[in-house]
Symmetry: C2
Subunit: 216 residues, 2 copies
């Protein structure tokens, strides 16, 4: 990041610190629920400073969302791709790493993205922000799907047969834990959930056939 300063009064606040504060407000309240007053109060700056530094509410949101991804999502990738560990262990570590964040008391509970993505259907999120939120959705599914398709152990276990569905299952589970975390459920309680779901993915992979909708 290159900052060119020609002259003029210096900024009193740190842009990254302010962005972090804005991110936490969106995390707690969503895009629609976060007011400019909420945001600027947490960021500890006034509105003109916010507008000059970040554009408007939508562009601030886009930057905050990117900040969330960079600082709160990417970190979990390491444990997923860690070599030398069995696939199931890597998946468990990855999922529990995310669940741990969802339940942490260091910031709002749950997942920033799950909350804001659920607002999209309401139709009150501006165009560019909506586009970003929809794009983000596909990345983790593609990542897991790709893993099931290419990992040697996954192929041996037959998990590649239903790679997309298995990825969807884990992603759905993480959206569920995000919602539960918002309701103050603990990481310890959710570990059972993750273990059970992983057991389902690993045990049912070999003899799965397309099920019927309602069984009699």
């Amino acid at each position: 990041m290159v900052v060119i300063v020609v002259s003029g009064r210096k900024r009193k606040f740190d842009e990254q610190t302010a962005l972090q504060a804005a991110m936490e407000v969106f995390w707690a309240k969503g895009f629609v629920g976060a007011s400019l007053a909420d945001l600027t109060k947490s960021m500890n700056i006034n509105k003109p400073s916010m507008y000059s530094a970040f554009g408007n509410k939508e562009t601030l949101f886009i930057k905050a969302t990117q900040h969330y991804i960079d600082n709160n999502m990417q970190a979990h990738l390491g444990v997923l791709l860690a070599p030398e560990l069995p696939l199931k262990t890597r998946l468990k570590n990855y999922m529990m790493s995310i669940v741990g964040m969802q339940c942490s008391t260091d910031h709002p509970k749950g997942c920033y993205l799950v909350l804001c993505q659920s607002e999209v259907a309401g139709g009150d999120i501006p165009e560019q922000a909506t586009k970003l939120l929809l794009e983000i959705e596909s990345a983790p599914i593609a990542l897991l799907s790709d893993l099931f398709n290419t990992d040697n152990e996954a192929i041996t276990l037959g998990l590649n047969e239903n790679a997309a569905s298995n990825a969807l299952t884990l992603y759905t589970a993480l959206k569920g834990t995000a919602a539960m975390a918002r309701s103050k459920v603990t990481s310890t309680e959710l570990e059972f959930v993750i273990d059970t779901i992983l057991a389902g993915v690993f045990n049912t992979s070999k003899n799965y056939s397309t099920p019927k909708a309602i069984l009699q």
Copy 2:
């Protein structure tokens, strides 16, 4: 429901129809995101009529929430408690019945309750409404937990050993599918997810021990 009419002009709108319309707005937008203008427009009445019939935004929300439970949640209970069917089948039917509703095009996607419960943490939902949303949360978990504790087949399979955790697992899965449904994922795609998770619950019940947080 007893309606005593003394005299005066007759209502032009049907209260249940209006409540249904309000419910769908809250379902799409949440409590905070739904404005009085959104609500009265969908209800096809004006504000004074709304206030005289339903009190205010919060009491309207409480009635709409109860309407949702009565009309969109209770219906699924039948298939869960249907006698003569294996437990796993009953659970699958119950969950797919809910997933089918979450994915239906007859109303907003996802779950009214999951959306509104996720707004609670934002702090912008009034007291009584918050209380109701939190109370509602415990019912389905208690129902499933009780089922695992008392159903003969569940006991035989050892599912009662971790009744509360198994209930939490299924409830978490349903919250996940609610979030996925909002993103236009289909009921067919989610059936795989439900099957996998049920397989996990039913297969891991016999030899489960408390897991460690991060495995090496």
